[in-house]
């Protein structure tokens, strides 16, 4: 237990110590929020879909979570390059604990990032339908963050260096984000709506949307079941790949 805790703590310390990283990873979601939110707002309202900001904010939270989590998971590559991974791998600690500690740490960081985006969006005019449900939204963020951190870990365990990073961003993270219904409604999106059903981020955003804005596509129950099962699968796959890492 203590080993998991110290690995979790390390991720948090690294997060709080790099202020540029916190600010840097907030800039992108905020830009999306402002440009899309205010840019498309009037069109969205004209189409009779209501307040676009209420619709968009859960999507932007999902965006900051997927980016931060996958990056956190992939930090293993840095640890490998700069040698620190060896220190944890020669220690008498099961690989599973190392993977769990890191993943929990990365997921906590991503959840904090998502929570910051939530509160910043309130400055832009976003209002949750029920303030008492905000803690529940944070729990959904944590679950989604676990899912994507585990995915990042699984990928990073198979990668040798940072060269593949750009590829992962352009061919995995970006499509996951754009196809998730983060910025447009899935109902009536035709084929896109079908594709979105295979994207775990769709369920994360749908869950946040039903909790924060009372807008729903799949149903909150379905969202939670899908998220939990996919998280479990990725955790198993991630720890299997991580257990096979050789230096």
């Amino acid at each position: 237990m203590q080993t998991i805790y110290i690995l979790w703590l390390r991720q948090l310390k690294r997060y709080f110590r790099s202020k540029s990283r916190i600010v840097g990873s907030l800039a992108q979601p905020l830009l999306f929020l402002l440009a899309l939110g205010f840019g498309f707002g009037p069109v969205f309202a004209k189409a009779g879909e209501g307040n676009y900001l209420q619709f968009l904010v859960p999507g932007i939270i999902g965006m900051s979570i997927i980016f931060t989590s996958i990056f956190s998971g992939m930090e293993i590559i840095w640890d490998r390059q700069f040698g620190f991974l060896k220190e944890t791998l020669v220690a008498p600690v099961p690989r599973f604990n190392i993977m769990i500690g890191r993943t929990l740490g990365g997921a906590t960081v991503a959840t904090m990032q998502g929570t910051i985006v939530l509160f910043l969006s309130m400055i832009a005019g976003f209002r949750p339908v029920n303030w008492f449900l905000v803690p529940m939204a944070i729990l959904v963020m944590l679950l989604s963050a676990l899912l994507f951190t585990a995915l990042g870990t699984a990928i990073a365990s198979k990668l040798d260096d940072m060269q593949g990073f750009q590829l992962i961003i352009n061919f995995l993270v970006m499509p996951l984000f754009f196809l998730s219904g983060a910025i447009f409604p899935l109902s009536g999106a035709g084929a896109l709506g079908v594709v979105a059903r295979f994207d775990p981020l769709s369920y994360a955003i749908d869950a946040l949307r039903s909790i924060l804005s009372n807008i729903n596509n799949f149903g909150l129950g379905t969202d939670i079941i899908v998220l939990s099962s996919v998280t479990l699968i990725f955790l198993v796959v991630g720890s299997y790949f991580f257990s096979k890492v050789q230096i």
Partner: protein, 264 residues
């Protein structure tokens, strides 16, 4: 009593045989030098001994525990200082030590005492709150040695520990390690490219080349066997004068950036 026992160790990477059927043993309390040109199989052997790599075949016992069957017991029994730094730059010196202590299950109070003692010893106690990224190469090496000793290992592996250190630091380090070897009976297993260092410090020396141990014995024995006057001459006579191709380190790979998927 042998504390390290290696029997018929073979390690292949695809078609390339990095370690080709070597056997040797190291006695408890011995200082053992493992020498060889670049790419001879030194680091691979150390990685296998320290459970970072699994062997293709062969048997390895550390303090009577099999590296394959009981990796966790094996991991408790040794400390290691790697060839390249393995510290977390974003943590302070104290935090790096503390992290290690927790991983090795050292109780809090004992951990504090030992960290203070060891950091004082390597003269870094005053810098305990500094981030490791602010440290020089020599300071990092000292911190790694202190860290490697924190859990009181029976064996200390050092992979080119003195690379890039000035003579002052080098002497200080060896003085400490020798002292530790005498007082605590810690077995020291090290690699180096400095022949005079091996000659001066090691009880016994093994020379490995192309994955095979070509000579093993005290410095005197190696000199006698090759009819030379110094270990350096003996080394060159045994391994030839050709310059070896070395495999790129992970950092080189990062810089060159040619490959994306993990090597198999």
């Amino acid at each position: 009593m042998s504390i390290i026992k290696v029997e018929n160790l073979i390690k292949k990477f695809g078609d390339f045989t990095a370690v080709n059927n070597i056997s040797f043993s190291v006695e408890k309390g011995e200082i053992f030098a493992f020498l060889g040109p670049n790419g001879a199989g030194k680091s691979t052997t150390i990685k296998i001994l320290t459970t970072l790599l699994s062997p293709t075949s062969g048997k390895l016992l550390l303090d009577e525990n099999d590296t394959q069957k009981n990796p966790n017991d094996v991991r408790h029994s040794f400390g290691i200082v790697f060839q390249d730094p393995s510290l977390d730059d974003e943590l302070t010196a104290y935090e790096n030590m503390d992290f290690h202590g927790v991983l090795y299950g050292i109780p809090k109070k004992l951990r504090r005492e030992r960290i203070e003692h060891l950091l004082n010893f390597v003269e870094l106690w005053d810098r305990r709150k500094s981030y490791v990224k602010e440290f020089s190469g020599g300071m990092k090496r000292r911190l790694e040695i202190a860290r490697g000793l924190l859990h009181h290992p029976k064996i200390l592996f050092l992979d080119e520990p003195t690379l890039g250190l000035d003579p002052q630091t080098r002497n200080h380090m060896w003085e400490y390690l020798r002292n530790l070897n005498k007082t605590e009976n810690i077995t020291v297993f090290f690699t180096t490219h400095y022949m005079e260092e091996a000659e001066r410090i090691a009880d016994r020396i093994a020379i490995i080349d192309h994955g095979v141990i070509v000579a093993l014995g005290t410095a005197e024995e190696l000199k006698k066997q090759t009819e030379t006057n110094s270990l350096e001459e003996a080394f060159l006579k045994l391994t030839g004068k050709n310059i070896r191709a070395d495999e790129a380190s992970t950092i080189d790979v990062l810089r060159n950036g040619r490959k994306m998927w993990a090597r198999k």
